[in-house]
Symmetry: C2
Subunit: 337 residues, 2 copies
């Protein structure tokens, strides 16, 4: 069905189209790549490729352009992820190493990725789910209000203000805090719910209503927030890549956290690359765009995902290389801190 030469032709078409941004014709192909055959032969192959939906002709008598299906085949079978240059590696290391806390790690990562790929980069904050509790703090901040602060081993801090229904003396709060910390210290966030369920028994009767309020907020924080936060950078790169489809839609999609979350996708293995090409992704505003994403984490646990978003017509090998490399480095940094 698709012999080697046809595949070579498809590869050549993708490469040329990506670099020139113009439909590529049989003659140009014969010139630039030495496929060892004449334009006429290539034309026959192209006809076959088009027949099967891998490429497409904008109009009669224009060159061919890869379809989403064509890119898919290219990514799956015709290309190899291109590793970064040594200089780029060093740049990543020095750039990431300077970060002092989680916020800054994330910030620098997203900028780095945007710069490296010249596309829009998206980084999800490390999920709470895989972290463990380092410390829980309950701070009175008013008459009947306390602030709940949760610190994880990944250095993340979550905070919520809680309204109480009754006045609670400082020492009762202190006691509650002590009990909470004893129970939860080092506890994996995913197992917090069970641990918390048993907790009221250890408290004096009178404190249980208050504890219940606080604990419900705590759980809520874990569940609701556990992977909402996203950061992105490099939107200016969108303007450069002249988007076929309105970039208004793309900008809108970027502001829809929910959409973005889904685009980053569910995890494959750690550092495993996910590529969604054009219409493969569920959001209609993002036809015309592809997403290359990977999970990152410390050790062997995936903490969250990161990726880039660009025109379907992107340099997949290079982009994939950059995403994979950054994901790995971030993992290392997180593990080391």
């Amino acid at each position: 069905m698709l012999d080697d030469r046809k595949l070579a032709v498809l590869r050549a078409i993708v490469e040329d189209y990506v670099s020139t941004n113009e439909p590529v014709g049989s003659k140009a192909l014969a010139d630039r790549h030495n496929l060892g055959v004449s334009p006429a032969t290539i034309r026959n192959d192209m006809a076959a490729l088009e027949e099967q939906g891998y490429i497409h002709q904008p109009h009669t008598s224009a060159g061919r352009v890869p379809t989403d299906k064509g890119y898919r085949l290219f990514v799956d079978r015709l290309s190899q992820v291109k590793p970064l240059s040594g200089a780029e590696r060093r740049a990543i290391e020095t750039f990431l190493a300077g970060a002092v806390d989680l916020d800054e790690i994330v910030m620098r990562t997203v900028r780095l990725l945007a710069q490296l790929t010249r596309q829009v980069a998206v980084v999800q904050y490390p999920s709470l789910t895989r972290s463990t509790v380092r410390h829980v703090e309950i701070v009175p901040v008013g008459e009947r209000r306390v602030m709940l602060v949760l610190i994880t081993n990944t250095g993340r801090v979550e905070q919520r203000v809680i309204e109480l229904v009754e006045d609670v003396a400082e020492d009762r709060i202190a006691n509650l805090r002590a009990v909470l910390n004893t129970c939860l210290d080092g506890c994996g966030l995913s197992s917090v719910p069970e641990t918390v369920a048993e907790l009221p028994e250890r408290l004096p009767q009178e404190d249980r209503p208050v504890a219940a309020t606080i604990l419900s907020v705590l759980l809520e924080t874990l569940v609701e927030r556990h992977e909402e936060k996203l950061v992105f950078a490099g939107t200016a790169n969108l303007a450069a890549a002249d988007f076929s489809v309105g970039l208004r839609d793309v900008l809108e999609a970027l502001e829809e956290q929910v959409v973005l979350m889904r685009l980053l996708g569910e995890t494959g293995g750690l550092s495993e690359l996910t590529v969604r090409i054009g219409s493969e992704n569920p959001y209609t505003g993002l036809r015309g765009t592809s997403i290359v994403a990977a999970g990152y984490g410390s050790g062997d646990k995936e903490l969250a995902r990161l990726g880039v978003l660009g025109p379907t017509r992107m340099d997949y090998p290079v982009t994939m290389g950059a995403v994979r490399a950054v994901a790995r480095y971030v993992g290392q940094i997180l593990a080391g801190s």
Copy 2:
């Protein structure tokens, strides 16, 4: 020099140009606004206005377009800030009231502002400088590491990880924490440096080096971070407003926090509107764009600034009204929480 009628003509030109986005000619003016004079007269006035640099002709035999100077005069003398409609007010209130913590207040504010003005909105996090300390927490997070968490009365939480040079037992940390909280509780952040300076005296000799390390980080956090954080939303609106100047530059400027910070400007009074029109602003990538900003705060203290950024050709009265209103509401919300 500029009699009333000429001013009226200028106002009419600005209004028409803003609504139609096309150079406006004398006949159209005479038709749409009843100025009581003939097109010919208007032409004379326009010639005078052009002479003085308030309007400008793209080409011979095209209508006139306001210059930056023209917009400036319009904003300063010819327009009145347009208050929001009742419906809009209610929308603001309900939308902002739902926020549970500072992060969410800021997030909702920036979205609200973007939606209301159909432009790019920017909100600066409430500055620490004006807040007071609610609580300082020091949490051991490893052998020789502690995490410093600072909670302010505005609900903001700052965190930093600190490496120590020696092992420090829990109880010494606890003591340090107690002392810190006693001294700093309720202390205005701006007066923290002095307060902290006297602090070592209250500590046992042995703890002073550790305390010094921690305190220096504390101060650093206050100084360095006190107004770095910015959030924006509504970039999709940029695509709609067909920017004369490349929107690439605008997107780039948006990612430069420093530039943005300066654009929001130094404070006038609280809720006082600052308007920078086109070339008035210092960053060349933003010719073609205007910024409308205002300070917001709780009580009479300005905590930070917010604003919107859009094409020079924007509806100033409406935009200014929205910015001012949002600034006030946010102030109220912050004061109330």
